[in-house]
């Protein structure tokens, strides 16, 4: 399978997990709200990455690895934030 498709599957998995976790949080607890914001950020960033991969594949030029690495680094920061805030 192409690397872009594998990345999309990984991102979708992460987005799915984030979305499911959203529903387990307490909506009035400050820590719960902070984790909610971070998980929502993961969903948004996932959308941006999938959209970028789609555009790149469509243009047949392929995606830029540095940009995808930046995206992965942002995911890592968000996941770290979830761990710290939880």
């Amino acid at each position: 399978m192409k690397l872009a498709y594998r990345l999309v599957l990984l991102v979708l998995l992460l987005q799915g997990t984030a979305t499911v976790t959203l529903w387990t949080l307490s909506p009035t607890d400050p820590a719960g709200q902070a984790v909610f914001a971070t998980l929502l950020g993961i969903d948004l960033l996932g959308f941006a990455l999938v959209s970028y991969l789609y555009r790149s594949e469509k243009a047949a030029a392929g995606f830029s690895r540095p940009w995808v690495l930046v995206g992965c680094a942002m995911f890592a920061i968000l996941l770290l934030a979830v761990l710290v805030l939880a």
Partner: protein, 445 residues
């Protein structure tokens, strides 16, 4: 057609289905040149995205907020502590409002430096300036609404400053934002302006600006490299440009959410005359520069008066004239010196005049910077003026932050404002000289 569809992937087929039903790729919006697909060209669009986030979070807060002096703070605290995700919504609303002010400023200054205001886009620039004013109006009116001791005290200072304006303008602005109804009337006016009048005005101007954008298209790049043939190709508005913009919006939204999660808002105490006495009133960061300007000129006096003021005004005009003359003759060092001198003379008459002069230049830019040349290296006067503008705002804001409530002697203000202008002009001179010496061998080669 059906055979062609079968060869496409499921995402492509979905996109084509949506497009065929909604007509998104119908040529209503013109394609976008590839050189414009960079984040800096979309700062204005991101400002609109920030406005959309503010509208959504604002509408959610409107469901619980009560705009009366006795209920405003209590209802804000209720949203904060009792409403599901209320603290999150308030935090994101505040940070996105800050981001909208920053994005608006960045969008304006980028346009200034890359000459988007030149023919035929003069009116777009003026409409954009009005939209910038409305954005600051949003920040001003929204700040009071939580009715905290900080927001009410700072607004009281700002309302007090309105009386320093020329009489007819002071009466009009005072009627618009304060009225005869005391605190109750003032809060209601701020609320109405914030949720009805300003959004409606902004949306109207946005439609006008978008119409003009479609008529004129995105401005050409200021450099030859940007106008290279391979960069003149275009991308369709749907799906390419739409997805690109959504990606930027998603990344921006992620940043706001992460900021909100890591630095959640803490609600300051509610306003009462007793608690107000314990705080030094100070506006939020985006108005600190104005606060500092008025602390110098309005509270301490109007700088030079009488004959010295007339002499300084004369010197200002002579310096400005000489500066332009020297620049036209290619005598850049003397031109920069004249520009700095004009600014210093302006500052000695009144700081407010000097800053007003800068804003006047900014607003009337399309009618002052009329030369066909658009590249930065060919516009030393305006590029230097823009750099002075940014430096003055930054210095005044920081100065205002570290001197809360202090009255600044006028001579000190003139020294700092004039000194900042002189330092930036000198730096600009060195940079332009350096750029010219580097270009000269390339040209001879």
């Amino acid at each position: 057609m059906a055979a062609e569809d079968e060869t496409k992937g499921p995402v492509d087929r979905l996109v084509r289905w949506v497009d065929s039903r909604l007509g998104l790729s119908h040529p209503l919006l013109r394609p976008v040149p590839l050189y414009a697909l960079n984040p800096f060209a979309w700062l204005g669009a991101l400002t609109v995205v920030a406005f959309a986030i503010l509208a959504i979070t604002g509408i959610l807060m409107m469901l619980y907020y009560v705009p009366t002096p006795t209920q405003a703070y209590a209802s804000t605290a209720y949203i904060f502590n009792q409403v599901a995700y209320g603290r999150f919504i308030e935090t994101v609303h505040l940070y996105t409002a800050y981001a909208m002010v920053l994005l608006m400023f960045a969008h304006m200054m980028r346009g200034f430096f890359v000459s988007v205001h030149k023919r035929p886009r003069e009116m777009m620039w003026l409409v954009g300036m009005l939209m910038g004013g409305i954005t600051l109006g949003f920040a001003f009116t929204g700040y009071l609404l939580p009715w905290t001791v900080i927001s009410k005290s700072a607004t009281d200072v700002a309302v007090g400053m309105i009386s320093q304006l020329p009489p007819p303008l002071a009466s009009f602005v005072s009627f618009l934002v304060v009225g005869p109804g005391g605190d109750t009337g003032e809060l209601l006016r701020f609320y109405d302006l914030h949720i009805v009048v300003l959004p409606a005005a902004l949306l109207l101007l946005l439609v006008v600006k978008m119409y003009m954008l479609e008529a004129h298209g995105i401005s050409d790049p200021a450099t030859k490299r940007g106008r290279a043939p391979e960069r003149q190709r275009t991308a369709p508005i749907f799906p390419d440009v739409t997805l690109y913009l959504l990606e930027l919006a998603a990344i921006f939204g992620t940043g706001m959410l992460l900021l909100g999660a890591l630095f959640p808002l803490n609600l300051p105490p509610g306003y009462s005359p007793t608690t107000a006495g314990q705080y030094t009133a100070q506006p939020d960061w985006y108005f600190l520069w104005l606060y500092q300007v008025l602390k110098i000129s309005a509270f301490e006096g109007a700088g030079l008066t009488g004959l010295p003021a007339a002499v300084a005004t004369g010197l200002l005009l002579v310096s400005l004239f000489l500066s332009i003359w020297f620049f036209r003759k290619g005598q850049w060092p003397l031109g920069f010196l004249g520009l700095a001198a004009a600014f210093a003379f302006g500052a000695s008459i009144t700081i407010l005049l000097a800053v007003t002069l800068l804003f006047a230049v900014l607003f009337l830019l399309p009618f002052l910077d009329v030369d066909e040349k658009r590249a930065i290296q060919h516009r030393p006067v305006f590029v230097t003026t823009g750099a002075i503008f940014i430096a003055e705002l930054t210095v005044l804001a920081y100065w205002g932050l570290i001197t809360p409530g202090q009255v600044i002697p006028t001579w000190e203000g003139a020294a700092v404002v004039g000194g900042t202008a002189a330092i930036v002009a000198l730096g600009s001179l060195v940079a332009f000289r350096f750029a010219r010496t580097r270009q000269a061998p390339e040209a001879s080669a």
